[in-house]
């Protein structure tokens, strides 16, 4: 990213950036329209006042990057057709508004309260159909944890780690740990595919299967590891580091005591 910011000072950089922005916008527009075709989204029951309030909030807080009417600018993609779920996820986890440009938006304390987030979602949902907010019944964690585990390992574990501890992607991007992420946000991430995460639409993983995955995640999140402290659930690297530093450290302490003379 440093390299990018240096090049930005080049006179042609503005032109390049403009072209890039147009490409991204166009590309995402294509994505959005395609999603629209395939997604048989239910619409949430937002009131007209939600939408109106959301529009004001959007104009004040988001339009700088995403443009008036969320049609996108050089700095941010169009949000037409991304759906309420995408807004709820991005704003609800604090990823939007973005702290700074970088390989990836970081999770941070949310800037808007639930009501405001809802209003923003309502506004963006009114611009074009997209994945809606999930129904409560899918988030209750009452599904089949074993089935969810199997689906998680096939579809999610390669990026998020088998114990949902997170993992690295290319060039500074990463898949975050899922500990402490709410059921709603997990669901929304699956249907909208934020940033570089692929989309898992309902034809790929059915809503019930998503419920199973959430059940599994909540199960492993709430139950403690039977073996004791987990060392970050990071696998053999953490274990090796521990035995070298703590294990051998304690042993060396004992050997020094053992071979020293008493006073």
């Amino acid at each position: 990213m440093k390299a990018l910011s240096q090049k930005r000072r080049h006179p042609l950089a503005a032109v390049a950036l403009l072209l890039l922005g147009l490409l991204v916008t166009g590309g995402l527009y294509a994505v959005a329209t395609n999603v629209n075709q395939a997604q048989a989204s239910t619409t949430n029951n937002f009131t007209a006042s939600d939408t109106a309030e959301g529009e004001k909030l959007f104009a004040a807080n988001c339009a700088t990057c995403h443009g008036m009417g969320a049609s996108g600018t050089d700095a941010g993609p169009s949000l037409v057709g991304v759906g309420a779920a995408a807004v709820d996820f991005q704003v609800g986890t604090g990823r939007m508004p973005m702290q700074m440009n970088g390989p990836q938006a970081y999770k941070k304390p949310a800037q808007f309260n639930d009501e405001q987030t809802n209003q923003l979602s309502a506004y963006v949902a009114s611009l074009g159909a997209g994945p809606a907010l999930p129904e409560e019944s899918l988030l209750d964690g009452g599904g089949d944890a074993a089935k969810g585990g199997e689906l998680f390992r096939v579809n999610c574990a390669m990026c998020h780690n088998a114990a949902a501890a997170g993992g690295a992607l290319t060039r500074g991007k990463f898949a975050p740990a899922l500990d402490g992420v709410s059921s709603k946000h997990i669901y929304e991430a699956m249907v909208t595919g934020p940033q570089n995460m692929p989309v898992f639409n309902d034809a790929n993983i059915s809503p019930d299967d998503k419920r199973d995955i959430i059940t599994f995640l909540k199960q492993i999140e709430t139950t403690s590891s039977p073996g004791g402290a987990e060392l970050g659930a990071l696998g053999p690297v953490a274990e090796g580091l521990f035995i070298w530093v703590a294990g051998l450290g304690v042993i060396i302490g004992f050997t020094i005591w053992l071979t020293s003379r008493t006073s």
Binding site: G172, G228, G235
Partner: protein, 559 residues
């Protein structure tokens, strides 16, 4: 044990209980001779001498906990559906091996504890073997007459890694299964026979249904038997050679100073077994290791982020990660006469490990050839007093650590918020320049420490007390060291480079010339130990440090 032993005569009546037991044993197997030899055998005492014992005790703990695990573990790759008490895997299809590992963890009392003891002890076993070898290397304990024992020890390191690796795969979980798959990929890259070896190992195509059972036999039978055999040989040679000792007053190559085996050393060593066991038990009770229930059963389709081997195989995995498969348009995979040569896999899998192990096995003879020092050594070198050897060791260690770190490249990236690709670019550079920097820096540090020793031997230690002399000069008062401490600082050899020698025909051949060059490289930078006359001079110029330094300069430091 407490009573003195006596020769065995039928009419003999021992006066103490201990004597009676000794006599009983002696009359039947003749143990007196052994006891007489060992009962008061002297062992030097130093904390760095204990790592071999840590390794031995970890191995004993491994045997005990491993035996428990074999009672419940079933090395079958047959399909089954899990019915145990871990809910997130209920009714999932898996192998019997994985299912029985889960049962050990969740349904057998103390099973999880034993599994964790076994795995933590395994990590500690290999780690202590490694640290023990580093200690032996850096103190020069591998020198004559202990070269053979160094080789046996190196073999033990490889066997320990083999034991660990074969055990790692047994639970047949997703993590170890992907590990096996990587091994399969590496084996397949072997020219000519690779495909055949892969099919023979797995009993057909990967993963097949045979490999777990085969690894199990290796893990519980062949490898531990070889380790035991090597340990016996190792300890036998330790007894024959007697232990080395650090230099110091009263210690020389003709004696061994320390505590007698009975009672002090035996008590310390025996007590230490319980301490090692206690530490492992504490770790196993409080810290999860290898949470196989997180990984799920092996299935060729999924994989988890952060798939890594246990630490001792890490450096090979790291080397695999460091190697670029394509540079520009140059591919490291070749097709020669219609056959495939995958250098992008073969080179990193074989070359670094090959170099490390072959240098490790032959180092005693390499050094002997360079220095022409074929004497017996029983007094160790302090690492600073053999700067070049210490630097070589650190260069190798850093090289190893770079590969080791590469195996954790993804975790370094996520935990320090840097780009995964940048981590690997840096490590690729360090792979080449890291050892060189380490060599130079270590050698300089060793020489600096030697100079510091010289300073202290000649001028005493700094007290931090500043005194103003009558004519206004400020000096720091130095307290002289006593002769015992001083001897520790000066009682070492500092050989000079050995020029090329003519052979029996009076000719200096090429190999001898090369040896002389290496000898120059090995001994060129040296700090000579302080001598009594220098000390005399130092006392003569008390307080005038500069003068002494310049007079000692040409003697102490060449170059």
């Amino acid at each position: 044990m407490s009573a003195a032993t006596t020769t065995a005569e039928p009419a003999f009546v021992a006066k103490t209980k201990g004597g009676q037991i000794t006599n009983f044993v002696d009359e039947r197997v003749g143990g007196s001779g052994i006891l007489r030899e060992f009962g008061r055998k002297v062992f030097p005492d130093h904390w760095s001498f204990m790592f071999g014992e840590v390794a031995l005790y970890s191995f004993v703990i491994l045997l005990m906990s491993g035996t428990f695990l074999t009672f419940f573990y079933d090395p079958s790759m047959a399909e089954t559906h899990y019915t145990g008490s871990y809910i997130p895997l209920q009714n999932v299809e898996m192998s019997v091996a994985y299912s029985s590992s889960l049962n050990i963890s969740f349904d057998i009392r103390g099973g999880l504890f034993m599994r964790q003891v076994h795995h933590w002890a395994a990590l500690l076993f290999v780690a202590s073997v490694a640290v023990h070898m580093l200690r032996v290397f850096f103190t020069g304990a591998f020198r004559k007459p202990r070269e053979m024992n160094w080789v046996v020890g190196s073999t033990l390191l490889i066997l320990a890694m083999a034991a660990g690796f074969t055990g790692y795969s047994l639970p047949d979980d997703l993590l170890s299964g992907n590990g096996l798959r990587i091994i399969d990929g590496v084996i397949k890259s072997i020219p000519v026979v690779g495909t055949f070896i892969s099919f023979f190992l797995f009993g057909g195509e990967f993963p097949g249904t045979a490999v777990i059972g085969r690894l199990y036999v290796l893990h519980i039978l062949l490898v531990p038997a070889l380790i035991l055999l090597m340990i016996v040989a190792h300890l036998f040679m330790v007894v024959v050679h007697k232990h080395t000792q650090y230099p110091g007053p009263g210690r020389n190559d003709g004696n061994v100073v320390g505590y007698p085996l009975g009672p002090v050393y035996a008590a310390k060593a025996g007590g230490f077994f319980f301490i090692v066991f206690g530490v492992i038990a504490l770790i196993a009770g409080l810290f999860t290791i290898n949470p196989i229930w997180n990984y799920g059963p092996y299935d060729p389709s999924p994989v988890s982020a952060g798939t890594q081997p246990d630490w001792y195989i890490g450096f090979v995995d790291g080397a695999l990660r460091l190697m670029p498969g394509v540079i520009g348009d140059f591919h490291f995979e070749f097709v020669i006469f219609g056959f495939v040569l995958s250098l992008n896999v073969l080179l990193p899998a074989l070359i670094p490990a090959g170099i490390l192990f072959s240098v490790m096995f032959t180092y005693p003879w390499i050094e002997q050839w360079i220095t022409k020092d074929k004497r017996e050594h029983h007094v160790l070198d302090r690492p600073r007093n053999a700067p070049t050897r210490t630097a070589i060791g650190m260069a190798g260690f850093v090289w190893y650590c770079v590969m080791w770190a590469a195996a954790a490249s993804d975790l370094i990236a996520t935990h320090f918020h840097v780009s995964l690709n940048d981590v690997l670019y840096w490590l690729r550079a360090l792979f080449f320049i890291g050892p060189i920097i380490a060599f130079i820096v270590t050698k300089r540090i060793a020489l600096a420490l030697q100079r510091k020793d010289r300073e202290i031997a000649l001028h005493g230690r700094e007290t931090g007390r500043i005194v103003r002399l009558p004519h206004g000069e400020f000096i720091e008062v130095h307290a002289p060291v006593d002769e015992y401490k001083r001897y520790k600082l000066v009682g070492f050899e500092s050989p000079e480079p050995l020029p090329a020698q003519p052979n029996e025909n009076g000719v200096v051949d090429g190999s001898e010339k090369r040896r002389a060059l290496l000898s120059k490289w090995f001994f060129e930078d040296r700090v000579a130990p302080a001598t009594p006359s220098e000390l005399e001079a130092a006392h003569g110029h008390h307080g005038d440090h500069e003068a002494i330094d310049s007079s000692a300069d040409n003697k102490s430091i060449s170059r």
